[in-house]
């Protein structure tokens, strides 16, 4: 409950004010871009990387 107390130290009051249409659009653009970036990163992770083998790897020459 420690966190509850922290939040309640001051009474939360939001201004009854909406974002302007421009701000809303800008925020939507920000969320969209971020979602796109996340999705791209996810796809990148799913792509099989070029195989590189180091010493001790699969192409290690056995003498």
């Amino acid at each position: 409950m420690a966190e509850n107390k922290k939040i309640d130290e001051k009474d939360l009051v939001f201004i009854n004010q909406q974002w302007t249409d421009e701000e809303k659009k800008s925020f939507s653009d920000f969320l969209r871009t971020r979602k796109k970036r996340k999705s791209t990163q996810k796809n990148d992770r799913n792509t099989t990387p070029n195989k590189t083998f180091t010493a001790g790897g699969l192409d290690r020459k056995v003498s």
């Binding site: 509850n4 107390k5 939040i7 130290e9 939001f14 009854n16 909406q18 701000e23 800008s26 969209r32």
Partner: protein, 180 residues
């Protein structure tokens, strides 16, 4: 699971059970959050609240919810008004009942419960938990510290996915998001 949550949902929240804490005894009371519609506006007595909730109930695209204890659903401990902004949830107003304000407040956790509720809705609607609001300038830092809110532009703030999830998990232990 994640995919399911990202699909926009058309649903109505009826009850969500959580708890608030008596500020003196520390006793914990189970709570529920229920929607109030214009028809039920008599439940809110103007004299008990600082903000004009009757006006809020008349507002288009605004949904008002009350937090009550399971034991006494007639007494609202706090109210919140939210709007669905199609890619995030917007918190229009939030207010704790008079007896839950200031140093002599009777219960703690009211505001946290209500903000966490908004965050939960933002996950369930597929908005990755993003909740936006306008903060009083002098409270920007307070929201940053307590809610983990970020400034988007000046006093335009938002609770991002990670912080939102943390708030939801704190109040709604049964909540799961993403991979199980």
């Amino acid at each position: 699971m994640e995919q399911e949550l990202r699909e926009p949902l058309d649903f109505e929240v009826d009850k969500l059970t959580k708890s608030i804490e008596n500020a003196i005894s520390g006793e914990v009371f189970e709570t529920e959050i229920t929607r109030i519609t214009g028809r039920q506006s008599r439940q809110i007595k103007k004299a008990d609240w600082l903000l004009d909730w009757h006006l809020e109930l008349k507002g288009k695209h605004r949904e008002v919810f009350k937090l009550t204890t399971l034991e006494n659903p007639a007494i609202a401990h706090g109210l919140i008004s939210i709007s669905d902004n199609h890619d995030h949830v917007f918190m229009n107003l939030i207010e704790s009942a008079k007896f839950n304000k200031g140093e002599k407040k009777l219960y703690r956790g009211v505001a946290g419960n209500l903000v966490a509720f908004a965050c939960r809705i933002a996950f369930e609607k597929g908005y990755e938990g993003v909740v936006a609001f306008v903060a009083k300038t002098q409270l920007i830092e307070h929201y940053r510290l307590t809610l983990g809110a970020k400034s988007f532009a000046g006093n335009r703030m938002f609770v991002d996915t990670r912080e939102s999830l943390s708030l939801v998990k704190q109040y709604f232990k049964d909540f799961s998001y993403g991979r199980k």
